[in-house]
């Protein structure tokens, strides 16, 4: 099993979510996060005082998938979330040892 963590632009959430539903992804967790990579922040002015905001609001999706779906999901997220500009985000993949469904203690890929 693989965990996919995708950090994307706020404005791309709807597109990514719909694209993932179309290829049969059944569950995901979405978080509002702040952070930055290479993208520079922006400045805000309050009564003439300048504030640099370098932690930019982003959306983070977390999905745990059977390994055979991972590549397709990555392609789908790439396709739906890309604008081609700095700030489009990143996708991280990592191994997951076990999944457990709380309702009936089902284990492994069947619990996903």
């Amino acid at each position: 099993m693989t965990k996919v963590e995708a950090i994307i632009q706020n404005s791309k959430l709807e597109a990514v979510k719909n694209a993932l539903h179309e290829i049969g992804v059944e569950g995901m967790t979405v978080l509002e996060v702040r952070g930055h990579g290479r993208q520079k922040g922006h400045t805000e002015f309050y009564r003439g005082r300048e504030y640099t905001v370098d932690l930019i609001p982003k959306i983070k999706l977390e999905l745990v998938l059977p390994d055979n779906m991972v590549e397709k999901v990555v392609q789908t997220i790439n396709g739906a979330a890309r604008t081609g500009k700095i700030g489009d985000g990143k996708i991280f993949l990592s191994r997951v040892d076990e999944a457990i469904r709380i309702r009936n203690d089902e284990r492994g890929e069947g619990a996903l």
Binding site: Y46, R47, R49, T52
Partner: protein, 474 residues
């Protein structure tokens, strides 16, 4: 459709109610043999009562409007400008004035402002509101109960100290703040209000002052005293921990936005209400107030747009307040066009004070109480001396009681000198009074919260609660 159907059983009682009282009245007057003059007297009395009702309705409405300026208006305006951890502490400072100053006013304040006294302070005649009832005090407002006048003036005494709280936001002890405000109200506000508005006050323009200063609704009494005292507080208390390196942006411009809009509406009570009657002078002040606020939004917003490339919401609402401050002394003396000029100048001037002058000096007037109220109030008081016209309000009279020129624009350049005297008195009293009071309060209870409490925020450290409570949902 469109016709109102009257049930048949109601027709007879209605007819009775319509005609019989008239018949009865005729009968009575014939019986008592009223002469023409008695009837005229009675009619005059009825006209006076009607006028009193109209004026009283407007003045009670205005009183409520001015109270709304403090809570929630100013509480929201200031509350949004501070950091999240200080939102309740900041709102409480305004709200506490609604309670504390009200009690002080009832016991001593009103008498010290408007009781018969000397040039500098009212006497003790109205202590505990003795003799303040339904009968008007003809010196101040001949058509409304003195109690209405008293409650209207109270709302000014409430908001003025609340304005100061913007300067020491996020770092003053609640206990110190309360004690400071009680003393400030008695030692700074009351003398200033008496000098400008009290009968025989040194600066009174209508009731025999030595230096008649034109201040319609409180440019000197409210805005200069509070704004200058705010600056003294900011300097005496020192900067917030981390200022100016650490970013301290407003936690909710949305709250401030709502507050500023309520201030704008409430200001109609503040300025148009200062006519103390519901006549054409109230209308004139209402119009001037609105026009100045609008022009000041354009002044501040435009200056910001030129400098930063964007007009901000915070800039727009700050501009409206600056314009309202500046038109306050002038509202009942100037026409609509000068009001536009005063507003526009105030918007630009206060923007420069807040953005350039403050950072140049480096003081931490946290929410710009001085930059807006002190600076805007001073500019407004000066411009009142320039633009006041006797056709709007014939307040200055010669020995024979004929109206004479008011402002510079009408040829009375001397009025500028009187305005200077009024402004200087307000500045001087605010500086000296505030310094002495700060010293006393500092010795008695200490002014600032501990550094640790400042980090935690006033909400938790002073009040034991949070503005935005968060817990895992059950």
């Amino acid at each position: 459709m469109g016709k109102i159907a009257v049930p048949r059983f109601l027709v007879l009682p209605l007819l009775f109610l319509t005609f019989v009282p008239g018949l009865l009245a005729q009968a009575t007057s014939t019986v008592t043999g009223d002469t023409q003059s008695v009837r005229v007297t009675r009619l005059e009395q009825q006209v006076a009562e009607a006028k009193s009702s109209g004026d009283n309705a407007w003045m009670l409405t205005s009183s409520a409007l001015v109270l709304m300026m403090t809570g929630p208006g100013l509480a929201l305006f200031y509350g949004g400008l501070v950091r999240k951890k200080n939102v309740l502490g900041t709102m409480m400072q305004s709200f506490a004035m609604m309670a504390i100053i009200t009690v002080i006013w009832a016991l001593f304040g009103y008498s010290l402002c408007f009781g018969p006294g000397n040039s500098f302070l009212g006497g003790l005649h109205h202590l505990f509101l003795r003799g303040v009832g339904a009968a008007p005090d003809a010196d101040y407002a001949a058509t409304i109960p003195q109690q209405t006048f008293m409650i209207y003036q109270l709302m000014f005494a409430v908001i003025t100290p609340a304005l100061i709280t913007g300067a020491f936001a996020e770092r003053m002890k609640f206990s110190a703040m309360a004690l400071f405000m009680i003393l400030w109200s008695l030692l700074v506000y009351d003398p200033m209000a008496h000098m400008v508005w009290g009968k025989g006050g040194l600066l009174n323009a209508a009731l025999g002052g030595r230096f008649p200063t034109l201040d319609f609704a409180g440019g000197t009494v409210v805005h200069i005293t509070s704004g200058v005292s705010a600056l003294v507080c900011a300097l005496y208390l020192g900067r917030r921990v981390g200022y100016p390196k650490q970013p301290m942006p407003p936690h909710s411009v949305v709250l401030s936005f709502i507050g500023a809009c309520m201030l704008w509406v409430g200001w109609f009570g503040f300025n148009a209400g200062s006519a103390l009657a519901a006549g054409s002078l109230a209308t004139s002040a209402f119009v001037a107030t609105h026009f100045a606020a609008a022009a000041a939004v354009i002044g501040w917003g435009g200056a910001e747009w030129l400098r930063n490339g964007k007009p901000s919401a915070l800039g727009a609402i700050s501009g409206s307040v600056a314009g309202l401050v500046a038109i306050t002394p002038a509202a009942g003396f100037v026409g609509p066009m000068p009001a536009l000029v005063i507003g526009l100048l105030a918007g630009i001037f206060c923007y420069l004070m807040v953005v350039r002058v403050k950072s140049w000096f480096g003081y931490d007037d946290s929410l710009d109480a001085f930059g807006v109220h002190g600076a805007g109030g001073t500019l407004g008081a000066l411009l009142t001396g320039v633009f006041a016209t006797s056709s709007v309000n014939p307040i200055l009279k010669d020995a024979q009681g004929n109206a004479v020129a008011s402002g510079w624009i009408e040829g009375n350049a001397h009025q500028l000198l009187n305005q200077f005297v009024g402004i200087a008195m307000a500045w001087g009293l605010a500086i000296v009074g505030t310094l002495i009071i700060l010293k006393i309060v500092d010795m008695l209870v200490g002014l600032r919260v501990s550094e640790e409490h400042e980090m935690v925020g006033l909400d938790l450290s002073q009040h034991g609660e949070e503005g935005y409570y968060w817990e895992v949902p059950a």
